[in-house]
């Protein structure tokens, strides 16, 4: 089969899966829908591998293929087609997305087994994968925007999956609204670029990029607006507040959408739009600085959060900050490399966290966890591998990808050194908060669920409660199901986590500095028009020093976490630190007051404006003037006319006679 066919098949399987699951939700029993969904994504992944081979068969110059299904509109100046762009970058993204998605589907088959919304879950999940693949395969801005919006919608559906939980629906709405802000940015940014290049098609638009002068006003505006889109999707400051709240969704959703795939769409977007960003370095620098700010802010919050999933969520934000910083510093390969390794180890961490949460019967608070090491050896092993990769300990995958980012960022420019150094500070904090989480959940005296598990039975809470608010829930549709499933007992969860653990451990070999550069060579055709791709290269000494510093920081971070949370069971040092640094601790624990700031600056003024519109504008202007004016005139006029309609026949006859007589007299007078 040809490359084009594979490209379309990649899209077709998840779509067919969604439709099939949606239509047969009554016809098929039990777990069938889970397996259909998993199979659809696995077939999509197989097609992606087919596309990879077909792409490699082409000559290096020809590895950018646009395939058009049909034209939506080809009028003057607009070429809206349904087209896919198959090049190394999109195939790389497709492989990561479909591969990780297939494993997460497999994990969900068990994890969601007792949930009453099982079928709905897989229909949504397949729809999400379809949207995400559409986003990364898009061959023009038009399809990109469609995929972008679909992904936001799928994210909303899945965050609010337990729709009877008020906290979950609120989180879904928040995510959707912030994503729509990003959509608007993307659409407006597209407009600014389209205005000059005159084509929606990526390849033709990229050719037009060279015609912009450097830092052209429209181009910088367009790129900044694209960055707004990327930041909303990728949870960068200040559009990040939805991501921690999105942890209200089921854990596989957090693993798939809010760690491995959707939130990396912004990174993909910036890498895809590199011809524009290189022509507008001012916008790219803004992106790099915000990426760096995000990675630091998220890491500091991660140090103090006590919700297991939110620790990983903030770590996701922080890691995406690294990627954004990389692609905005034109170190594309390192950014995308980190995207891939992050997809592996972050999905793994979420899955392990899901297993722990299941063992705790839905409880997510780290304060109530402890001592799961012996009770859940497999989960513990996976968490350790994920934690080592995330902290950047050699030779795990995160070590190579993160240090490559930092070395490239430092090599980029003079002032980028500051960003690189701050990145190292962030990587130290990453090690601390990751291992704080692991030590608190798995070390120390076993809590009751852990003891029960060691004795051989799974802990069940006396009553089901919302972990965020403590409200009592039932287990019917719209709430989590009654049974919880842990990796130790379910083969599908075990297989998914095991495969990801292998990826998280060994994916680093693709890009060992000075040894292998598989990704760099592979992605070359997508970046053939980049000015920095071939030339941006850290010096040998910088590379080795960077690797050494990264490894030392990671190990010392873990060591400090060990001293604070394991070697000191009463945690006197931690509480001492907390007491001494009260303002700093409050700042971190309140998440740098971003929710409050956004609430005061955006939400409240808008709500006030809305109330004003409702009370004054709507009531006085619309209801009173616009609607009331004409309708009042009609009513008054008709009341006058209605008075003549008395119903007395004789009265009508008299009117008729008088009228006729008057008419006759008029004509007589006029004639004489």
């Amino acid at each position: 089969m040809s490359l084009e066919t594979y490209g379309w098949l990649v899209l077709l399987f998840p779509l067919a899966g969604t439709v099939l699951i949606g239509l047969t939700f009554r016809a098929l029993p039990g777990k069938a829908h889970g397996y259909i969904g998993t199979l659809a994504i696995a077939l999509s992944f197989a097609s992606a591998i087919g596309a990879l081979f077909a792409l490699q068969d082409l000559g290096a110059e020809e590895r950018q293929v646009t395939t058009v299904a049909w034209d939506y509109a080809s009028t003057v100046g607009v070429d809206a087609q349904f087209s896919l762009l198959l090049d190394p970058l999109s195939v790389f993204m497709v492989l990561v997305v479909s591969g990780v998605s297939a494993l997460i589907h497999l994990y969900s088959v068990s994890y969601m087994a007792s949930d009453r919304g099982y079928t709905r879950f897989f229909a949504y999940l397949n729809f999400f994968v379809f949207s995400m693949l559409l986003l990364v395969l898009a061959g023009n801005f038009f399809v990109l925007i469609v995929g972008w919006a679909f992904v936001g919608a799928a994210s909303y559906l899945l965050i609010s999956f337990w729709y009877r939980r008020a906290t979950a629906t609120a989180a879904g709405i928040k995510a959707f609204v912030i994503n729509v802000v990003g959509d608007v940015g993307l659409v407006l940014g597209t407009y600014f670029i389209f205005k000059h290049t005159g084509s929606l098609d990526f390849l033709r638009a990229f050719e037009g990029a060279g015609e912009f002068s450097r830092n052209d006003g429209d181009l910088v505006a367009g790129c900044l607006l694209l960055l707004v889109g990327a930041f909303a999707k990728s949870a960068q400051v200040p559009l990040h507040t939805w991501l921690p709240d999105a942890m209200e969704g089921p854990t596989p959703v957090s693993a798939l959408i809010h760690a491995a795939t959707m939130v990396t769409a912004g990174v993909y977007l910036i890498a895809r739009m590199h011809p524009f960003f290189e022509q507008a370095p001012a916008a790219a620098d803004v992106g790099a600085i915000i990426g760096c700010a995000t990675l630091l802010i998220a890491a500091t919050i991660g140090l103090v959060v006590t919700d297991l999933k939110r620790v990983i969520a903030y770590s996701t934000m922080s890691q995406i900050g690294y990627m954004v910083m990389a692609v905005c510093s034109f170190a594309y390969v390192s950014g995308l490399f980190h995207l891939m390794t992050h997809a592996f180890f972050k999905a793994l961490l979420f899955m392990a966290a899901g297993s722990v949460i299941a063992a705790m019967a839905g409880e997510q608070n780290l304060d109530k966890m402890g001592g799961f090491r012996r009770a859940m050896p497999f989960t513990f092993g996976c968490m350790v591998i994920g934690g080592l990769a995330l902290a950047g300990v050699p030779p795990f995958s995160g070590f190579f990808s993160k240090d490559e980012i930092l070395a490239f960022v430092i090599a980029r420019d003079d002032w980028h050194i500051v960003l690189g150094v701050l990145g190292y500070v962030g990587s130290f904090m990453t090690a601390v908060y990751t291992w704080r989480m692991i030590f608190r959940a798995f070390y120390g005296p076993p809590v009751e669920p852990a003891r029960e598990l060691e004795a051989g039975h799974l802990y069940h809470a006396p009553e089901h409660r919302n972990p965020a608010t403590g409200e009592v829930e039932d287990t019917d549709v719209g709430f989590p199901g009654p049974d919880h499933h842990i990796a130790e007992r379910e083969w599908s969860m075990k297989v998914a986590m095991g495969l990801l653990a292998v990826g998280a451990t060994f994916a680093g070999v693709l890009q060992i500095p000075k040894v292998t550069d598989v990704l760099h060579t592979f992605l070359e055709p997508s970046f053939h028009d980049s000015r920095y791709y071939a030339t941006l290269e850290p010096s040998d000494s910088l590379t080795w020093i960077g690797l050494a510093v990264g490894a030392v920081l990671a190990l010392s971070g873990i060591a400090i976490a060990y001293r604070l949370w394991v070697a000191d069971p009463e945690r006197r040092a931690v509480s001492g630190l907390r007491a001494r640094l009260v303002p700093l601790y409050t700042l971190f624990a309140r998440k740098w007051y971003f929710d409050e700031i956004i609430d005061t600056l955006v939400v409240r003024p808008f709500a006030m404006f809305g109330r004003f519109a409702r009370d004054v504008f709507e009531r006085v202007v619309v209801n009173g003037l616009l609607v009331g004016g004409p309708s009042g005139a009609v009513r008054a006029g008709s009341a006058a006319v209605r008075a003549a309609q008395s119903g007395f026949v004789r009265y009508y006859a008299a009117l008729l006679l008088v009228g006729l007589t008057a008419l006759g007299l008029y004509f007589l007078i006029a004639a004489s």
Partner: protein
């Protein structure tokens, strides 16, 4: 005899009919008064036809009679329907179609 006399009689009959419609409340009488008015018109038509010496007016008078016959049929039908429904036979009482 000059045409004036015919026209005076015609006007007189027409006025009696119109006055009757305005004054009386019994639908049957109103129908009769209508007939009076129509016949006053007929008289005027025939008188003019004769004065001008052509037959058009007489043909019109015949058509008016046809119309009058139809109208009487409809009017009497209405009155019978009113009677059967035991509604008051008084046009002032029958005023449900007001605006």
């Amino acid at each position: 005899m000059s045409i004036e006399w015919y026209l005076v009689v015609s006007a007189l009959v027409f006025s009696i009919g119109a006055g009757g419609i305005l004054i009386r409340r019994n639908p049957l009488v109103i129908l009769l008064c209508l007939e009076l008015m129509l016949n006053a018109g007929n008289l005027a038509l025939v008188a003019f036809a004769r004065a001008h010496g052509n037959q058009d007016g007489q043909i019109f008078a015949l058509i008016v009679m046809v119309v009058a016959a139809c109208e009487v049929a409809v009017g009497l039908g209405l009155i019978v329907a009113i009677y059967r429904r035991r509604l008051p036979i008084d046009v002032d009482e029958l005023r449900e179609l007001q605006g």
